[in-house]
Symmetry: C2
């Protein structure tokens, strides 16, 4: 037994459904706000829940370094620690070791690395990654430890890296054991931009058997076309009966294109990060509220939204807060962006259910292109 | 006609009551969270209202410089701009010109100063201060423009400064005109630490006639004893029938002592500023959540509080957020502190109504002294 996953509607390869976890239902396609260090940056759990988010992300790498996984366990686990009672998926830390840590040494056993916070040395193995996620943090969904293949990668390097991740996948599966419908474990497809390596990875994971399948190694600079090509080469080889998760992606248009290729779950730092820096997301792309043209704009970001941040404050006020360096500006824009992403996936689910997903996808592509044209002409 | 002010109970010189403004009732003694730049720092208006705050403060100096008073007016006034529909009191900017502005030149006419933001030159006169506050920002309660006498001040300097503020008080009163029960104007008692100057100032303001009377020029380094002495020399000369407001004060114990001397209203940056820096206020004083002793403290700041920030997060989590530099730490501690200050004034009001204010004051003094003793012995 694992978390039941029900597909309610399909439209082409796009599908909408529900993943039933012990802590609640995740409506898919789902966007998971990123709560790296046990907080979705700048937002209270109540604000995050209010946007409609069913699940959030936590990060093994950050939490094992600070405050420490054993400490979180002593404090009752990650849910109690951060006051979030819904499902949590934890990233295994593989990506962050590669992008953030200092000196690191990769072996078959695992990866030894230096903390970017205090330089202390730590070891992450497949077994330790599972212990941290499933036992200490208490994640509802744990991710296998993988090696995040550098981009670009030679085919030989990409193959070796992907096969190491596969061996780690098997060790993670063994370490995780059988947890019934209490907790789930996802595997991660690697293989860089090589279709046959992606297929080999997907088939290998399927043979091991996971509760869900993630596509990793993207959003690393490969670009929109390459991302779409990798998805085209990957999702057909993943079991249709289990959720598919595209890690670290992305812009609204990336999400729509990935949904069109059968992806069910997403996470990305874009909404919170760009919010902190003064950007508000719309169907046409990000808008920079620091821009002087908003100084006297009395309209809210979205008068029809249920989110107070989108509905109850003028752009002029948000402009003022960002210019004055006021924390509330970052709070409100992060809040708006998380709400926007939840609204985006809600509209995607509704479009799939209505058999109108292609229209929605085309609308988003057209708006993004139109805005890009305007931006280019005004540079 | 002005805002009705009703005293419901007295206990010694302490009194509890209600000031009825056009935008709602202010329960007194009242603590007004400071919203300098059109935001109570780090908090949404909903969070502030949820703490029980009846009124907040805005600042003429900051708002005239950024985003500009005329701009706020074009955007519908300060209430609409910042999405706060309750009463707002605006400080006249006198204090901030002295503490923040660059080069400044004081004349009988007013004060010319340089913006601390961009060095631009501005003029603040009594008439302009009223125009900004009452007409452009739309404050429910405006403050007269005053000169904030430097501390310490020679008697002659203090007398001249106080008399200039009195002449400005008269000009403010004239500029404000008659506004019925729509808006109110408060005068400000100056006179440094000289009892006869404080009395002269109070009598002068009373002769002009204001809707409320503030005590200014304190919380400038004079110390606890001197503050109490100034209040002893001042409040008996203010009309009992109108609210008395002690500007910029202070710690909980300062507030209790001022209430004991007949003060009804307070504002102070302490709760939000110390929250941003990791301190949580309690009856015993501030507690630094960054301290390692909280790293595994699973208790919340106040399990019995109605405020989510005080009730729903462990000290260990707040410790983690502050150590990790997470914005949510500043948000939650600011929120807790504003709620603590509202709880403080609520308990003061209840104690006065029950004839037990002396007990409350003694409890607070004892706890503060005990904590100070512990802190001294652990240094």
């Amino acid at each position: 037994m694992t978390f039941p996953f029900t597909i309610h509607a399909t439209d082409g390869a796009a599908r909408s459904g529900a993943l039933e976890t012990a802590r609640g239902t995740i409506r898919t396609p789902a966007f998971m706000p990123v709560g790296t260090a046990a907080t979705v940056k700048a937002l209270t759990p109540g604000q995050v829940k209010g946007t409609g988010a069913d699940i959030i992300l936590g990060n093994t790498y950050h939490l094992m370094l600070r405050p420490g996984a054993e400490r979180v366990a002593r404090l009752g686990g990650l849910h109690a620690f951060m006051n979030w009672d819904g499902p949590i998926l934890t990233d295994s830390g593989g990506f962050q070791v590669w992008s953030l840590a200092g000196l690191r040494k990769l072996t078959e056993e695992g990866v030894r690395f230096q903390s970017h916070i205090d330089g202390s040395t730590h070891m992450l193995t497949p077994e330790r990654a599972i212990e941290i996620q499933a036992d200490l943090l208490g994640a509802d969904i744990s991710m296998q430890l993988d090696e995040c293949t550098a981009f670009p990668a030679e085919e030989k390097t990409a193959a070796e890296s992907m096969r190491l991740s596969l061996r780690w996948a098997e060790r993670c599966r063994t370490a995780f054991g059988e947890r019934g419908d209490a907790q789930a474990l996802f595997g991660i497809v690697q293989g860089s931009t090589y279709p046959h390596l992606r297929q080999e990875s997907a088939e290998g994971l399927k043979a091991i058997g996971f509760d869900g399948y993630a596509v990793g190694g993207l959003a690393v600079g490969e670009g929109f076309e390459a991302m779409c090509a990798v998805l085209d080469a990957t999702t057909p080889h993943l079991p249709a009966s289990r959720p598919r998760y595209l890690m670290g992606v992305g812009r609204p248009i990336d999400i729509a294109e990935a949904v069109a290729r059968g992806i069910d779950m997403f996470d990305c730092v874009i909404p919170t990060r760009s919010g902190r820096h003064g950007q508000a997301w719309t169907d046409s792309g990000p808008v920079n509220l620091k821009n002087a043209r908003f100084a006297e704009d009395s309209e809210p970001l979205d008068a029809d939204s249920d989110c107070p941040a989108s509905r109850d404050y003028s752009k002029a006020y948000l402009h003022h807060l960002m210019k004055a360096g006021e924390m509330l500006g970052s709070v409100l824009l992060s809040w708006h962006n998380v709400a926007y992403y939840q609204s985006l996936t809600a509209r995607i689910r509704a479009a799939i259910a209505a058999g109108q997903f292609e229209d929605f996808r085309a609308m988003l592509a057209a708006k993004t292109a139109a805005e890009a044209a305007v931006s280019a002409s005004s540079d």
